[in-house]
């Protein structure tokens, strides 16, 4: 009875049928993942990668991490300058590991890193059979940096990034 208020009787039923029929005739957008790799956007948050060269062992990332999933070990080395004078000290990174069983992909470490050592990578299929194997060491994290894509071009009229003006 209510259907008569907006249009003829049974109009809603026909409309519903036409929606499902049209959906059926359209091509599905499903990507058959193991057979076809999905083409994810350049800034997809798949996994966090580490560029070791840029890391100064400042521990900012591990301290900012909300669930303490970043492990960093380092030692200090001193170098005597060739021309004499006070010995210079440097921190050497021994271990950098992220426990992806704990990581919640908040990306705070990437934001906190002052020297662009941490990046988001598109890689997402690094499942393991044992939860302990989800703690990935710096070598694996370094490999993921190879898959980091350059940032997509800015939209027309967008402000220039801070780094460009600095």
């Amino acid at each position: 009875m209510e259907t008569q208020l907006h249009g003829g009787f049974g109009q809603g039923l026909v409309k519903g049928l036409s929606v499902t029929l049209r959906t059926m005739l359209h091509r599905s957008v499903t990507v058959q993942y193991p057979h076809v790799r999905p083409d994810l956007p350049a800034r997809s948050r798949g996994v966090i990668a580490l560029k070791q060269e840029n890391c100064t062992v400042c521990y900012k990332c591990s301290r900012e991490c909300p669930d303490w999933c970043i492990y960093i070990d380092a030692h200090k080395e001193t170098h005597e300058p060739a021309g004499g004078g006070r010995a210079r000290s440097a921190k050497i990174l021994d271990r950098f590991a992220i426990d992806y069983a704990l990581c919640m992909y908040c990306g705070i470490c990437v934001e906190a890193c002052p020297f662009d050592a941490l990046f988001w990578s598109r890689e997402f299929d690094y499942a393991e059979y044992d939860i302990h194997e989800l703690t990935h060491e710096k070598e694996r994290l370094e490999e993921w940096t190879y898959t980091v894509l350059p940032p997509p071009p800015l939209e027309v009229g967008a402000e220039a990034p801070e780094e460009a003006s600095a």
Binding site: L13, V19, T20, T23, M24, S28, V29, T30
Partner: protein, 335 residues
Amino acid sequence: MIGDSSVFDTLVGGYWIPLVMKAAAVLIVFLVVPLAVGYMEHKVLAHMQARLGPMEAGAFHGWAQLVADGVKFIQKEDVVPTAADPGVFSLAPAVVLIPYIVTLVAIPFGPRLYALDLDVGVFFVLAMSSVGVIGILMAGWASANKFSLIGALRAAAQLIAYELPLVLVAAAVVMQAGSMSLLQITEAQSRYWNIVYPWQLVGFVIFMMAAVAELTRPPFDMPIADSEIIFGAYTEYTGLKFAFFLLSEYGGIVVMSAVASVLYLGGYQPLPGLAIIPGFLWMFGKIFALSFVIIWLRATFPRLREDQLQRFAWVGLTPLALALILVTSVYKVGV
């Protein structure tokens, strides 16, 4: 009368050999066509929801998905609840399944391609397709589960409500054809299919709605409403017994589509000018087309409420079906 002009009888003489051949043919059709309809449901439902459905089993678009499901069901543990009545509980799936196989015996797939030409074909088919509800009642009662019992009683109430319009519109077809034999009804449509008569078109719509209700398919699936009563009478079933219930659902779709094709779409009669295509292909084409419509309804409409369903049958469909009989008899007497 046993239809002794069927292809099975003319090919080989005698009584037993044609009988075995008929039984084998019916069984093969019953095991193959419902699986094809089940696969169609997987794919059509998926595409209507912008998905792909099964894609892996059998390498090509998941054609072997239902075979794989069958193998899985066979492997599963056969659980009988402690409080259940084991005999009735185990018998119920067979009581639901077998009537649909028996129904298929009376359906003609070609002028000479049928197992049995019964004088009371329509009566037999409709009576047989209603036996299944006894199995559902048995399943619901024997499960010793409140959800099963609610589902079974809903199924029984629904069957009683929708059997009436179903039989009444079928009676209108019988009046128009002047015979209850499904073969005769098909032959009577050699010039015009029943669906071209406006009142029979209404009858066809009523028949399909009542058939969907009788099969307890969405949007009339209160007896198995999974969001209210888990899975109705099938709640406690596992493994092969559960698979039997599923098979009987798809078998039921095939049987009901076949009956609707015979009653309204001219059965194996071709469209004018397309008589080159053999009759059994027309019949199967019509069965699959109507099965598609039943699946389409499932993909589109939400479930009705129990009281809405009963009201729809008693206040809507049944008086309409009675009026239909009146119109048909006026046509039959007047023209």
